[in-house]
C-alpha cells in the first residue's frame, strides 16, 4: 500500500510532465497552447494605423470611461457594441479618431490584463516544477526507508502522509491549470469582439 503510494506519486509526476511538457522556449509555461507572450495590434485591427503609444486615450474622459466599461466581460458583447455605436454617433466629426483612441485603450488594457495572467501561469508552472521535484525526492526517500532493515516505521509513516498530501495538491493544481490556461484565450476573444464592433463603426467614406 505504501509502496503503491510512492509509485502513484511518481506516476502522477511522470504523466504530468509528459502532458504539460513545455512546447515553447519558456520552460515554466504550463499550458498546451503555444505561448504568445504579447498581442499584436495587427491580429485584431485592419482599420487605419493605430500607434497605441502615441494615442493618449486616458486624457479623454469619455474614451477612458467607455474603455473601463466595455473591457468588463460581465457586459455582454452585443451591449458593448450598442455603447460603442452610441459613442461613435456622439463623436460626430471626430468619429474615426475617437474610435481609434477607443481601440488603443481597449487593446492596452486587455493586453496588460493578459500579460498579468501569463505571468501568473509562469509562476504556477514554476511552483508545480518545484513540487514535482519534492514529490520525486520524497518518493525515493520513502522507498529507502521501507527497504531499511529494520524498516524505519516512523519515517515511513511520515513520508507516506506527506506524499499523499502533496500528490493531492499537485493533482488538483493540475486540474485547475486546464481552466487557467483558457483565460488568455477568453481575453483574446473579448478583444477580438470589441475590435470588430469598433471597426464596424468606422466611417470608411
Amino acid at each position: 500500500m505504501k509502496a503503491d503510494l510512492a509509485a502513484l506519486a511518481l506516476l502522477v509526476i511522470a504523466s504530468t510532465t509528459a502532458a504539460a511538457a513545455p512546447r515553447t522556449a519558456d520552460p515554466d509555461w504550463p499550458c498546451q497552447q503555444v505561448k504568445v507572450s504579447e498581442l499584436s495590434v495587427a491580429s485584431y485591427w485592419s482599420g487605419p494605423a493605430v500607434d497605441s503609444a502615441a494615442i493618449n486615450w486616458r486624457q479623454d474622459a469619455a474614451v477612458a470611461s467607455l474603455v473601463g466599461l466595455i473591457v468588463q466581460r460581465r457586459l455582454p458583447l452585443d451591449q458593448a457594441g450598442d455603447r460603442i455605436a452610441d459613442f461613435a454617433r456622439i463623436a460626430g466629426a471626430e468619429r474615426n479618431s475617437a474610435l481609434l483612441a477607443l481601440f488603443a485603450g481597449v487593446f492596452e488594457v486587455l493586453n496588460r490584463e493578459r500579460t498579468n495572467v501569463l505571468n501568473g501561469l509562469d509562476r504556477f508552472g514554476e511552483r508545480q516544477k518545484v513540487l514535482a521535484e519534492r514529490l520525486r525526492l520524497d518518493a525515493e526517500e520513502l522507498r529507502a526507508a521501507q527497504a531499511g532493515i529494520p524498516a524505519n516505521e516512523a519515517k515511513v509513516a511520515e513520508l507516506t502522509q506527506r506524499l499523499a498530501w502533496d500528490s493531492e495538491v499537485f493533482e488538483s493544481r493540475r486540474q485547475s491549470a486546464r481552466f487557467a490556461c483558457d483565460l488568455p484565450t477568453t481575453i483574446e476573444q473579448r478583444l477580438y469582439g470589441l475590435a470588430k464592433a469598433i471597426q464596424a463603426q468606422l466611417d470608411n467614406k
Binding site: 503555444v34 504579447e38 491580429s43 485584431y44 477580438y192 469582439g193
Partner: protein
C-alpha cells in the same frame, strides 16, 4: 362508408411522407460541415443561404472531418471517444462508426476513396481501414507520435508528421516500411501533396514556416516564411494548407495571426495576406473553387473567401471552437 387501407397503400403513403420530410434538408444545397471541438457537434452550413441551418450532436472532441468519395457519408474523428463516427449526409443521423484506434485526430483518403488512413497520436501508429466493410486492414507502427497525415496522389506513399521528431516520415504502403525521414521546423502539423504529386508541403506551427519537400528526392527544396507588418513573429503559426486544382495557388492558415497567406505555389512566394477570423485553423474549397472556407477556432465562425477576388466576403457563425471543415461535392 369506411375505406380500409391496404398495407401497400400505407407503405406508399409512408414512403411519400418520408421523401417529403427529407426534401427540404440542407444536404441538397451546397453544404459545408464544420466540426466544433468544444461543442461536440457538427454545424451544417447552407452555402447558398450562407448560414448555419443544422447542428448535429456527435462524440467528444470532434476534429478531423471528411466526406466519402460518393458524398453519402460524413466521417468525423471523435478523438476523446476513440472512434470515427459515420453520419448519413441525407438524414444527418449517425449511422455507425469505424474502428479508428485510440485518439484519432486526423485522417486521409486517397483519390480512389479507399482505404482510410488514420493517425493515432497516443498509440504511435497509423490505422488503415476499409471504409465499405468498416474493417481494419492494417496497423502500421510509426515509432513516433503521428500528427498530420497525407497520401500521395498515386496512393503509394503515406506521410505522417511528428512533433516528437520534427520530421515528415515517408511510409511505403506496399511494404509498410518507413522509407525516408525529412527534418522540418518545430511542431509540424499539416502535410499536403500538390494534386500532381510533384511537391509535399508541411506546415510547422512553432517554427512559423512551411517546408516544400521534393517527394522523390526526400529533400526540402525551400522553406516559406511569413512576415506580416505589425505582427509579432510568434503569432504566426502555420497550420492548414490548400492548393487550387491547377496547383498554381496555395493558401496557408496562420493560426493566431488571424490571417490566411496567399502563395504563388509555382515560385513559393507569398503574394498577400487575408484577414479572417480569430485563430484560423483548417480550410476547404467549394467544388467549383469559387470560395475557400476557413475555420476560426476562437471567433467561433467560418470566413468565406472569394478566391478570384481574394477578398473575405462573409463570416458565418458556427459552434464553439470550430476545427475542421469539408464541403459536399454536389
Amino acid at each position: 362508408m369506411q375505406v380500409a387501407m391496404t398495407d401497400a397503400a400505407v407503405r406508399l403513403i409512408a414512403t411519400i411522407a418520408a421523401a417529403w420530410a427529407l426534401a427540404p434538408l440542407p444536404a441538397l444545397a451546397l453544404t459545408a460541415y464544420v466540426s466544433n471541438e468544444r461543442d461536440n457537434s457538427i454545424s451544417v452550413v447552407d452555402l447558398d443561404a450562407m448560414k448555419t441551418v443544422r447542428t448535429i450532436a456527435v462524440g467528444q472532441r470532434p476534429r478531423g472531418i471528411m466526406l466519402t468519395a460518393d458524398g453519402t457519408s460524413l466521417l468525423v474523428c471523435a478523438s476523446d471517444d476513440d472512434t470515427i463516427q459515420i453520419i448519413d449526409t441525407r438524414t444527418l443521423q449517425i449511422v455507425g462508426d469505424l474502428p479508428s484506434g485510440p485518439d484519432p485526430e486526423t485522417f486521409a483518403l486517397p483519390a480512389t476513396g479507399n482505404p482510410l488512413f488514420v493517425s493515432n497520436e497516443n498509440d504511435n501508429r497509423v490505422t488503415v481501414i476499409d471504409v465499405p466493410t468498416r474493417k481494419v486492414l492494417a496497423e502500421i507502427p510509426t515509432g513516433v507520435e503521428p500528427e498530420g497525415m497525407a497520401i500521395s496522389p498515386d496512393g503509394q506513399t503515406i506521410v505522417n508528421t511528428s512533433e516528437t521528431t520534427n520530421m515528415a516520415h515517408f511510409i511505403d504502403y506496399a511494404t509498410r516500411k518507413v522509407v525516408a525521414n525529412v527534418l522540418v521546423d518545430p511542431r509540424p502539423r499539416v502535410a499536403q501533396f500538390k494534386h500532381d504529386g510533384s511537391e509535399l508541403w508541411v506546415s510547422s506551427e512553432l517554427g512559423g514556416t512551411v517546408s516544400v519537400i521534393d517527394p522523390v528526392k526526400h529533400a526540402v527544396k525551400t522553406r516559406i516564411s511569413f512576415d506580416i507588418r505589425g505582427l509579432r513573429a510568434e503569432a504566426i503559426q502555420p497550420v492548414g494548407i490548400r492548393f487550387t486544382k491547377d496547383d498554381a495557388t496555395a493558401f496557408v492558415a496562420l493560426g493566431p495571426a488571424n490571417r490566411v497567406a496567399v502563395i504563388d505555389a509555382r515560385t513559393a512566394k507569398v503574394a498577400s495576406y487575408l484577414l479572417v477570423g480569430q485563430r484560423v485553423w483548417q480550410m476547404a474549397f467549394t467544388p467549383d473553387e469559387k470560395y475557400l472556407l476557413t475555420t476560426n477556432g476562437l471567433s467561433n465562425d467560418i470566413s468565406v473567401i472569394d478566391v478570384a477576388a481574394l477578398k473575405v466576403i462573409k463570416s458565418i457563425q458556427v459552434g464553439r471552437m470550430p476545427w475542421g471543415i469539408v464541403v459536399s461535392p454536389q
